[in-house]
């Protein structure tokens, strides 16, 4: 006879789990008691449950496997929520195990009780409340199967205290070989006719572009995507989540598209006659105004989730299936094509609108990123937080492979970068892990520096310190008359001393030379985290930029900065999305020489 907690750990082992990120508490005591003797699964003690969820997420993204986190009931469980929502938006396979109050106390407002299955319905792929010890093996098996199959996503398993204490006869042979869920059968193989039509469409197109998203990364389709691009000489743009699916040094890579994508990728998509979308979901940060996105293009859309097909843009050729499986089936029908005049046109745009940043002796985030890339031969895992630095990293960090780029794309979670880097480093001890953060984001999960120190993880964090919540500041500058409302972070801790207090190695750089020196020192540290406080100009903005809800016609590049600043009367109005759109309409009207009074209100 074994306890439910012991059995649960053995089930995790059978799923191949090697690491669990967690934080103990009353309702999780039996699980932690079982962990006390556990030899095969290493438990990483975090400093806040949100860190545990992000670490499991970073672990999953770095490996392509499932990340596991563990928390107690009530506040422990609710602290996981942001991490689960982050994983859900980016379709990352995470299994979260939470303690729950005893079954008879559920619903009685017991100490540390929270309805975590109720709370997490909209931010998990599925969740379970385990009612009896006998259900544990089957539930764990289903949880992992659901998390990693189809369109992956987080799954939460809530285990009441009395269930993890209860005993039953158990041996590992009782674990289901394969989870059987009759109501859940994701489609993997695409429709043969549509696959041929897609190949034909690519062959016929004069001006095709491959638009590749995170779904291709999750499916492990890098070889197939590259083969498709190379055989047909089709240029590849990726979404934020698709970065690395093709080596960004490859001549067929034109970088990221969208709001802060490269000008040439956006021009290419705007003018293409075939948009070949692979595991991408036409996010609003990609499309801007939907009816002006790729207006002349036929669309092929391949996705494992049928609900993504036609959600934003109705494709001419829809294919539901696993990306790797579908592309492998398509490749035999794909005919080789030579380098085209269309590609030359895109290359022309590329030389006309390159990514540029000032070189005036001051330290810039873009430089920091380029140096970090060069120093590691662009092979390090890069995690980011959210904001301007994230967009600069997306533009300037040229990934060589998938699973190398770890960022919160859909939810845009500040505080993600450091714990995600810890998860990635735990999963891949032999790989260099870098984290690019901001002075705002870094302060949202700083406490996990302690975790990195305790486990001796040599993560290098570069804080792009502009003493400001830069992205919000940028929008306030451009769209809110430079009314800088609550974005000033002059009052921040000394990040060097703070790092030292946590037992890490702190450095500061205020010039390019200081940064190069700091980075080479950082690269020598092998036993603890390093934080480099990079002091950069506050006023530096991210360009190119397509304002929200606009199209490539409204793209701002560095040369016309002054034109970006508009004065819009917004006095006495509540903030709302509607208002934001109206402000943008006025902005566009002004740009086109119209009067804001005519367009206003």
């Amino acid at each position: 006879m074994k306890t439910g907690a012991r059995i649960l750990l053995e089930c995790l082992r059978l799923e191949g789990v090697r690491h669990v990120f967690g934080y103990p508490g009353g309702a999780a005591l039996p699980l932690y008691d079982a962990l006390y003797d556990e030899k095969q699964i290493e438990h990483i003690l975090v400093r806040h449950e949100q860190g545990a969820a992000h670490m499991a997420d970073g672990y999953a993204r770095a490996t392509g496997g499932v990340g596991v986190c563990l928390a107690t009931s009530g506040p422990g469980a609710t602290n996981l929520v942001t991490g689960l929502a982050t994983a859900y938006m980016d379709s990352i396979p995470v299994v979260a195990i939470t303690g729950q109050v005893r079954t008879h106390a559920i619903g009685k407002d017991a100490f540390q009780e929270a309805d975590i299955t109720g709370i997490t319905i909209p931010i998990t792929k599925h969740n379970f409340l385990v009612k009896r010890v006998e259900e544990i093996p089957e539930t764990i098996s289903k949880a992992f199967h659901i998390a990693r199959s189809g369109r992956p996503g987080p799954v939460l398993v809530d285990v009441p205290l009395d269930v993890s204490l209860a005993k039953m006869a158990w041996d590992p042979s009782m674990y289901p070989d394969k989870a059987d869920i009759p109501t859940y059968k994701p489609t993997t193989r695409g429709h043969e006719v549509q696959i041929r039509r897609a190949a034909a469409a690519l062959d016929e197109a004069q001006c095709p572009v491959l638009y590749v998203g995170g779904g291709a990364v999750l499916s492990g389709a890098e070889a197939e995507v590259r083969e498709l691009a190379e055989r047909t000489n089709t240029l590849v743009t990726t979404s934020l989540m698709g970065k690395g699916i093709i080596d960004e040094h490859h001549p067929l890579s034109i970088g990221m598209l969208g709001m802060h994508g490269t000008a040439y990728a956006n021009h290419a998509v705007h003018n293409c006659d075939l948009l070949f979308a692979i595991g991408a979901r036409f996010d609003d940060r990609v499309t801007g105004k939907v009816d002006r996105f790729a207006p002349r293009a036929r669309v092929v859309h391949i996705d494992v989730d049928p609900a993504e097909i036609g959600k934003v843009r109705v494709p001419e050729v829809p294919i539901v299936g696993d990306i790797k499986t579908v592309l492998a089936a398509m490749l035999p029908h794909v005919k080789p094509k030579p380098w085209s005049a269309w590609n030359d046109q895109i290359m022309e745009w590329k030389s006309e609108f390159p990514l540029v940043y000032p070189s005036d002796g001051r330290l810039y985030a873009e430089y920091v990123i380029e140096m970090m890339g060069q120093a590691t031969n662009w092979e390090a895992i890069m995690t980011t937080d959210v904001g301007q630095h994230q967009m600069w990293a997306a533009q300037y960090y040229k990934c060589r492979r998938p699973h190398q780029w770890i960022t919160s794309g859909g939810l845009g979670t500040m505080g993600f970068g450091l714990p995600a880097a810890i998860g990635a480093q735990v999963s891949s001890p032999g790989t260099r892990v870098l984290c690019l953060s901001g002075d705002g984001s870094f302060q949202m999960c700083t406490q996990e520096l302690m975790t990195a120190t305790v486990y001796g993880l040599p993560i290098i964090v570069a804080i792009v310190n502009n003493r400001s919540l830069g992205m919000v500041r940028q929008w306030q500058e451009l769209f809110y008359q430079e009314r800088y409302s609550h974005v000033d972070l002059q009052a921040s801790p000394d990040f060097v001393k703070l790092t030292e207090a946590y037992g890490g190695f702190g450095l500061r750089a205020e010039t390019p030379e200081e940064f190069r020196n700091a980075l080479s020192k950082a690269l020598e540290v092998r036993d603890r985290p390093v934080v480099i406080d990079c002091v950069v100009p506050t006023e530096e903005n991210v360009y190119p930029m397509i304002p929200a809800g606009q199209s490539v016609d409204e793209m701002r590049i560095r040369e016309n900065l002054e034109e970006l600043k508009v004065t819009v009367d917004t006095e006495g109005e509540e903030w709302s999305f509607d208002r934001e759109e109206r402000v943008l309409e006025q902005f566009v009207a002004l740009r086109k020489g119209g009067s804001s009074a005519e367009r206003g209100s």
């Binding site: 299955t117 109501t183 609900a307």
Partner: protein
């Protein structure tokens, strides 16, 4: 007043979802509709011939694209077994209504005539009110409510639509 209470939105569709008979399934479905901003006109949940399976009949408002999204999103819920919309299929649809109407002695004859025409039944009677039971299509219940409204509807409860495909087709 009755018209605004009962008239269906212009574009409505009946969706049937067979779901696992587990606690929390209704919360998942209702939550999905709330989160994605779909409008539920009515929703009924009931047992089926299989005790492990419940059947939800949902009337939703929206165009074809919205309907397609709802169907796909519903299907993604792990506990949803099958989703059918009845856009292209002939169906029978029924709804049950209970209407408590004011019935002054002078009006009783007329009300009883209306009930007879609509093949309803008076199932409770007091000195001032009738409780009328009626089944039929949504339109029939709407019409009856409209006619009764001139006497004063005190209370009305409707089950929402349940639907079934005609012929041998099943959901």
């Amino acid at each position: 007043m009755a018209a605004s209470l009962t008239r269906r939105a212009p574009q409505t569709h009946v969706i049937t979802a067979l779901v696992g008979n587990h606690p929390g399934v209704l919360a998942r479905v209702a939550g999905l509709f709330a989160r994605r901003g779909y409008n539920i006109e009515s929703l009924t949940v009931s047992v089926t011939e299989d005790p492990d399976v419940s059947r939800m009949t949902i009337v939703v408002a929206g165009d074809q694209l919205v309907l397609e999204q709802i169907t796909k999103q519903l299907h993604k819920l792990i506990e949803v077994i099958r989703v059918a919309d009845y856009v292209d299929a002939p169906t029978v649809e029924r709804e049950l209504g209970l209407i408590k109407v004011r019935a002054e002695p002078k009006d009783r004859g007329e009300i009883m005539q209306i009930v007879e025409v609509f093949r309803g039944r008076i199932i409770d009677m007091s000195d001032r009110t009738f409780v009328i039971e009626v089944t039929g299509s949504v339109e029939k219940l709407d019409k009856m409510a409209e006619l009764l409204s001139s006497y004063g509807i005190r209370e009305m409860v409707r089950t929402g639509v349940i639907a079934m495909a005609r012929g041998s087709r099943t959901a």
